[in-house]
């Protein structure tokens, strides 16, 4: 799976969790760019991303991404 494909899947997860079918995400976005993205939804996003992409993040990774791009890079190392 290349970076664009991962990005698309991650976007699907965001849309599903944040209940917004038209949500557009960008690699440089973080929680401050999307209103509904709070600490609770962050957890949902992590768990749902893991399920969707069949990966498991390390415990130490989860809280530390600076933006969506960093999250995608972390996924890339696992696929």
């Amino acid at each position: 799976m290349n970076r664009t494909e991962i990005f698309d899947k991650v976007q699907e997860v965001f849309r599903e969790v944040l209940e917004d079918e038209e949500l557009i995400i960008k690699e440089e976005y973080n929680a401050s760019d999307i209103d509904e993205w709070d600490s609770l939804t962050h957890i949902l996003l992590v768990v749902e991303t893991e399920k969707k992409l069949g990966v498991k993040f390390l415990s130490s990774e989860i809280a530390n991404w600076k933006d969506i791009g960093a999250m995608i890079s972390a996924i890339q190392t696992k696929i």
């Binding site: 209940e19 609770l40 957890i43 768990v47 749902e48 390390l58 415990s59 809280a63």
Partner: protein, 573 residues
């Protein structure tokens, strides 16, 4: 089971009627997600649950501090979840490991008792999911200084302590762990990062069980199991295969049906009403119950046996009429998806689980479904099948009398009247929770509340039983009255089992109350009818008995003792 994400998206539908409930959640774990899943799952079962979450890890502080937020709010239900992970932390630091369970048990006992004694809340207490740190390998299981030994002991102590306590239920997370597996129950990464050990995927299972218990507090639970026969109770089709060819017994798939029947038999013994609803020739079907050597269920276990070629929907409606209980307290098991769907579609309130294709999996599936939640077991439960069978006798006998009053006289009915006592309180409490139809104000009484009424100066409970020549119905009605003034009392609640409707019991009870009132110097009885979805049958009860109505409020002036028509006689001690 629905995913937690879907459950989180459930929204209250303004066009429906929800039962509003307030619950408190106290835990050493973060509770944001579980509280949301409980709320979302409640919506599916017509509960509008608002969850108050105590600050994390403050169980005892909240409980013991009279000024705490917890103690300054009212909750119908309090849920307490202590995690095994926190318990393990305590254990690791303990220097009296062999006494660990006893010490922890005392601690838990003190605060749970405190909650119950200082509120009218019900309490749901999680037991501990298992965790074996294997410090002693397999030897851990039998050495009393190991964690797993002490944890199991603690779970056992809690179970034993709560066995006779109807105000505290156990949320048996240890069994849920068994059913879904430890890896699915826990998420260590979440625990380390966010302070909650339960995985998001486990929350629907846990919340379902919490709601099952809460619904039982609200008197919603299953009382009756309706069973199909072919490929449900035995393998094969009796009409085609014949009694010697159906699969049942010790061999192969026959063993699965054997075990399934044994489970059903245990349900029957604990008071679940069993009925048969099958497309079959009645004689052929009954013959299996009488003559097959490997049948575990016999005809005497079945309250209503329906085998014919009519639609199952009609047959189930007929069963409901005989039993006189709501569809929402019935479960229907059938291997045939077509029959299941038509029943689901036409009788929406009935529970129809989608049995797995392979009968080998029936039991493990049904265990997880947790269909038969209950708060207590009473002696009456065990006799229930017999009661309905005698009801059948009565129905048959009724048809041979053309004159109803002649029939009534012939029944030789007598009723014993008692005040509330520690002997009848468990049954009265149960009756108050189970009666939905003949229930004038639908006040539910816990045993504790009834004990308070028993000892009260201004309140009193009268308890009625009924027996006739066919046998005893046991305690079938109670009336709670409250003194308003020297000359007036108010009927706070009156409920009666629907099994004894149209027997003249209402008239007997009011005659008795009028006599009692005159003796005590009361001249005015006031009463009220509070309508619910289910108690429409008593809408005009007070009017019929001679009360004057103002809206849903009623009054009756007493000059003399009443003498309403009834064939029931009082039973002399």
């Amino acid at each position: 089971m629905k995913s937690y994400l879907k459950i989180l998206k459930n929204k209250i539908d303004e066009s429906l009627n929800y039962n509003k409930l307030k619950i408190a959640l106290l835990s050493d774990q973060s509770t944001q997600f579980i509280s949301k899943v409980i709320h979302g799952l409640g919506i599916e079962r017509l509960l509008d649950i608002s969850v108050w979450e105590a600050p994390i890890n403050q169980i005892e502080q909240q409980v013991f501090n009279p000024k705490s937020d917890f103690n300054n709010k009212l909750f119908e239900t309090v849920i307490v979840f202590e995690s095994t992970h926190s318990l393990l932390d305590k254990f690791s630091l303990s220097n009296k490991k062999s006494d660990f369970a006893d010490i922890q048990f005392e601690r838990i006992k003190v605060y749970t008792n405190h909650i119950i004694q200082n509120s009218n809340s019900k309490l749901i207490l999680f037991n501990f999911y298992e965790l074996n740190d294997k410090v002693y390998g397999n030897f851990s299981a039998k050495v009393n200084i190991s964690f797993i030994f002490q944890l199991r002991k603690l779970n056992f102590l809690i179970s034993e302590f709560l066995a006779n306590n109807h105000n505290i239920s156990i949320l048996d997370i240890s069994t849920i762990q068994n059913e879904i597996g430890s890896d699915n129950l826990m998420d260590i990464s979440m625990y380390l990062n966010y302070g909650f050990i339960l995985s998001l995927d486990s929350l629907p299972f846990i919340s379902k069980n919490i709601i099952d218990i809460i619904l039982t507090y609200n008197s919603v639970f299953n009382k009756c199991l309706i069973l199909d026969l072919d490929n449900t109770l035995w393998g094969g089709i009796i009409g085609d295969d014949g009694i010697d060819k159906i699969q049942l017994g010790e061999l192969g798939i026959g063993k699965a049906f054997n075990n399934f029947q044994l489970w059903i038999k245990k349900l029957k013994e604990r008071g679940v009403i069993l009925c048969i609803c099958s497309k079959n020739n009645e004689e052929v079907a009954k013959n299996v119950f009488i003559n097959h050597p490997d049948m575990k269920l016999r005809l005497e276990d079945i309250s209503v046996f329906v085998a014919n070629w009519e639609s199952k929907v009609d047959n189930i409606k007929n069963i409901q009429k005989v039993l006189n209980i709501g569809f929402d307290s019935m479960v229907f098991l059938d291997d045939n998806p077509y029959e299941r769907d038509s029943v689901k579609e036409n009788i929406p309130d009935i529970t129809v689980p989608d049995l797995p294709k392979d009968p080998a999996n029936y039991l493990s599936f049904l265990y997880k479904e947790n269909l038969f939640e209950t708060l207590s077991v009473s002696e009456l439960d065990k006799k229930r099948t017999n009661l309905y069978q005698t009801e059948y006798e009565r129905v048959k006998s009724k048809s041979s009398f053309t004159d109803l009053s002649e029939y009534m006289i012939n029944l030789k009915m007598v009723s014993k009247v008692e005040r509330l006592s520690s002997f009848n309180i468990p049954r009265v409490s149960q009756l108050s929770h189970r009666s939905n139809q003949f229930n004038l104000r639908t006040v539910r009484y816990s045993e504790k509340e009834l004990t308070e009424i028993m000892n009260s100066e201004n309140q009193m409970g009268l308890v009625f039983d009924l027996s006739d020549k066919f046998g005893s119905h046991g305690i079938i009605s109670y009336v709670i009255i409250k003194k308003v003034s020297k000359s007036e009392f108010f009927v706070e609640n009156w409920a009666m089992s629907c099994r004894v409707l149209e027997r003249g019991m209402e008239q007997f009870i009011l005659n008795y109350i009028s006599e009692f009132s005159i003796q005590k110097g009361f001249t005015l009885i006031t009463a009220e009818y509070i309508p619910t979805k289910k108690n429409i049958i008593v809408k005009d009860l007070y009017k019929k008995l001679g009360f004057l109505a103002t809206g849903n409020k009623y009054q009756l002036k007493l000059n003399n003792k009443l003498n309403l028509e009834t064939k029931i006689k009082i039973k002399d001690e």
